[in-house]
Symmetry: C2
Subunit: 427 residues, 2 copies
Amino acid sequence: MKKSYLEMSERELSDSISALTAEYEAEKKKGLKLDMSRGKPSTAQLDLSNGLLKILDGKEARAENGFDVRNYGVLAGIPEARRLIADVCGVESENVVIGGTASLEVMYNTVVRAMIFGTGEGKTPWIKQGKIKFICPAPGYDRHFGICQDLGIEMITVRMTKTGPDMDEVERIVASDSSVKGIWCVPKYSNPDGITYSGETVRRIASMKCAADDFRVFWDNAYIIHDLDDKPDKLLNIFDIIKGTPNEDLVYMFVSTAKVTFPGSGISAFISSGKNVDFALAHMNYQTISYDKINQLRHVRFFGSADGMRAHMKKHAAILYPKFKITLDALKGELDGLDIAHWEEPRGGYFVSLYVLPGTARRVGELCKNAGVTLTNIGATYPYGVDPDDSNIRIAPSYPTEEELAAAMKVLCICVKLAAAEKLLGK
Amino acid sequence: MKKSYLEMSERELSDSISALTAEYEAEKKKGLKLDMSRGKPSTAQLDLSNGLLKILDGKEARAENGFDVRNYGVLAGIPEARRLIADVCGVESENVVIGGTASLEVMYNTVVRAMIFGTGEGKTPWIKQGKIKFICPAPGYDRHFGICQDLGIEMITVRMTKTGPDMDEVERIVASDSSVKGIWCVPKYSNPDGITYSGETVRRIASMKCAADDFRVFWDNAYIIHDLDDKPDKLLNIFDIIKGTPNEDLVYMFVSTAKVTFPGSGISAFISSGKNVDFALAHMNYQTISYDKINQLRHVRFFGSADGMRAHMKKHAAILYPKFKITLDALKGELDGLDIAHWEEPRGGYFVSLYVLPGTARRVGELCKNAGVTLTNIGATYPYGVDPDDSNIRIAPSYPTEEELAAAMKVLCICVKLAAAEKLLGK
C-alpha cells in the first residue's frame, strides 16, 4: 500500500487516480462544510475565558494606583497590566505599552509611525526615503505581508528553515541594502510552520549589522505561551541579548491575548527599548487618550499573575492538543512514505504546515473547496500571495470540532494524493 | 458695587486690587485642590453605566447575525451596533463603521489614512502634496490641533462666531488655496464655546466650493446627544444636505460613547458616504481584523435602542445641569456688568467658555493655579497653544463635585477681577 508515488508506473498512477476519484466523489456527496482556513479559537476555548466578562463592577474599577479605569487617562496602560505582560514576556514594565484590542493594529500603527515620523528623533521618515523594503521569511503570516502591501513596502522573500529564517541570506541583505528597513518574525511556533527560532538564529538576529540605521525587527511573539504539551520549545529572550549592545533599539515586540482570552477583545502590547517606547508614546499621545483600561483591569483580575495566565494556557492546550494529534495522525497515516508531502510537528501555535508535491497546492485547494473543505487561501503564506513552489498548505485545526477535523483531514489527504497522482501522470 | 471696571479711576482700581488680593489670599490659605481642566465625567456619571460592565456573559455573546462576538471577524462592526449609532446620528447603517474605544483615534487614523493613501482611489496622498493645511476654528478642541501638530499640518485659525466658524473667511480660504485639505468642526455644543452651528452655517459648509478636490470636513459630533435640559439646540443633519450633491463625499463624521458610557472604554464610529466608507474599510482591513465586538454588543444590550441611549443622556443631564448652573450663576453674580468678561450659556456639551479682559487670561490661569485651582492650559483652545487675545478660558465643570465647583468658581472670579484690575492699572 505504502509505495512511493515517485516510483509508480503510469498504470499504477492511473489506477490510483481512479480509486482516489471514487473516494473523493464519495466524500463530496456528504455535503461537508468544514473550515480550516483561519487560526480561530473554538467555542470551547472561548468559553474558558467567560469568567472575564463579568469579573469587574463599577465599585472595583480602580487600578492599583487609585485611578478609576472608567475615566480618561493613563496612555501607556495601567501599571498592573503592564507588569502582567512584562512578567509573561520577561521584560520590565517600563518597556511595555498596552495597546488596543488586537496586536495587528499595534503592528500596523508601528509601521505607519516609522513611515511618517521615522524610527526615532532625527531619523528620516521611511516614506521620504523612496522605495523601502521588508524581509519576509516565507512561508509566513499573511497579515504581515498585507501590511507591507497596503503601505507600498516591497517584500523580499527569504526561505524559512527548520531553525528560523535563512540567516545567511538575511545577514547578506540587511548588510548590503539600506532601503531594507524591517523583517517580520514569528519567532516561536512560527506561522505557519510551527518552528521556533534556534538560539543561534536569535543571536544572529540580535547582532545583525544593518546598512540602514533605522532597521527594525518586527518580533511578533504571537504564540509566546501557546504551548501544546509539557515539552514546549524554548525561545531565547532577544531583549536579554541586545541589551547594552549597539542593537539595543533594534527590536519591536508584539504580543496579545487574542488567543488567550478573546480575539479582537483582548489586550495587546508593544514592547521595546526605553528609547523606542518613549518615541512611540510621544506620538501615541496625539492619537488617543488611552486604550481600554477597563479591559486591561479585567485581564489582570482574571489571571492574577503571569503564572495564572500560563495555567490558563494549559486549558487551551488540553483542547488543542487532540486536534493537532488528529491532524498529524491523519497526515502520517495517509501520506507518510508516499514521497509527495512533508510537514512539521509543532509543539505549539495554531497551525500545521503541509508541503505537498510542488505544483499541486492550488489544485489541492480547489479539490478541497469543491468537496466543502475550506483551507487558507493557497499562496497566502507567501508575499504577494504567490508560493513559488505551489506547495505550502496551512492547516488551522483549532476551530472545527474533533469530528469535523477528522472528516476534513480525510478529504484533504485524498486531495493531496489525487493532485499528486494527476501531476505525476502529467494530466 | 457693580461698577464697570472700565470706568473706574486709578484709585478705585487700586482699592479693588487691595480688596481682591485679601480675598484671594484667604482662598489660597484654604489649600484647595480643584481640577476644572478637562471635560471628564464625574464618578456619579460613570456610575450610571455600571450596568454595562456585567451585562454580557459567554452564552449570550452572539450578534443578531449569529456571529460569536468573542471571536475574530466583522471589521465594520456588528450590525446592531452600526444600526444603533446610525439611528442616533440619523444616517444609514452602511454609512457607519464602528471603531475602537475612542473617537480621537478614529480621527487620527482618518487623517493618517489621507496622508498616506489620499482621500480615495486615484487621489494623491496628502503627504506627497508638500505643505498641507487645515482650517481650525478657534477657540476649539486642543486635541484636534494636536493631531495637526503631530502630523506637520499647518493650522489656519478662523474665528468662531455665535453661529459657528466665520464662514466668509472659511469659504474664501477653501476656494483659493488647494493646499487646504480639512477643517475641524465640533458642530453641536462646540468645544469650548458650547455653540451649535446655525442652519445657515451648516448649509454653507455643505455647499462649499473647495479648490482642493480632496478637501474634507472633519465633523466631530462629540456632543450630538449631550443636551443639558429639555430645550436642546438643533443641529441640521449635514448628510441630508450633501446627499446627491457634488459634495456627497465631503464629510467625515465622528462620534463616540466616551461621555455616554465610559471614556476610553466606549465605542466610537466613523460615518461618511458609501464611497468614503468603502475606501476606509479597504485600508482598515490591513490594520485590524475587527474592533472590540464584545464591547459593541454590551452597548447594544445596555441601551436597546437610540431612544434608550437618549434616555440615558437625561440622567447625565440631571447631574451636569446643576454644575453648569453653579458655573453660570457664579459668572453672572460676580462678573456681570463689570465689562471685563463675557461668556456663552451652552445648552449642552462639556464646557463653559469664558472670555476675560484681553491680555489677562494667562495671569488668571497663574493666579488660579497658585490658589490650587487647575484650569485647562491657557491658550490650549487655540492652534499652537497661543490665544492671540490671551482672553479665552475653558471651564470644565463636569468632574468636580458641586461643592468643589462652587469653591473653584469663587476663586476663578476673584482671579478674573484681580487680573483685570491689575491690567487696567497698568501693573
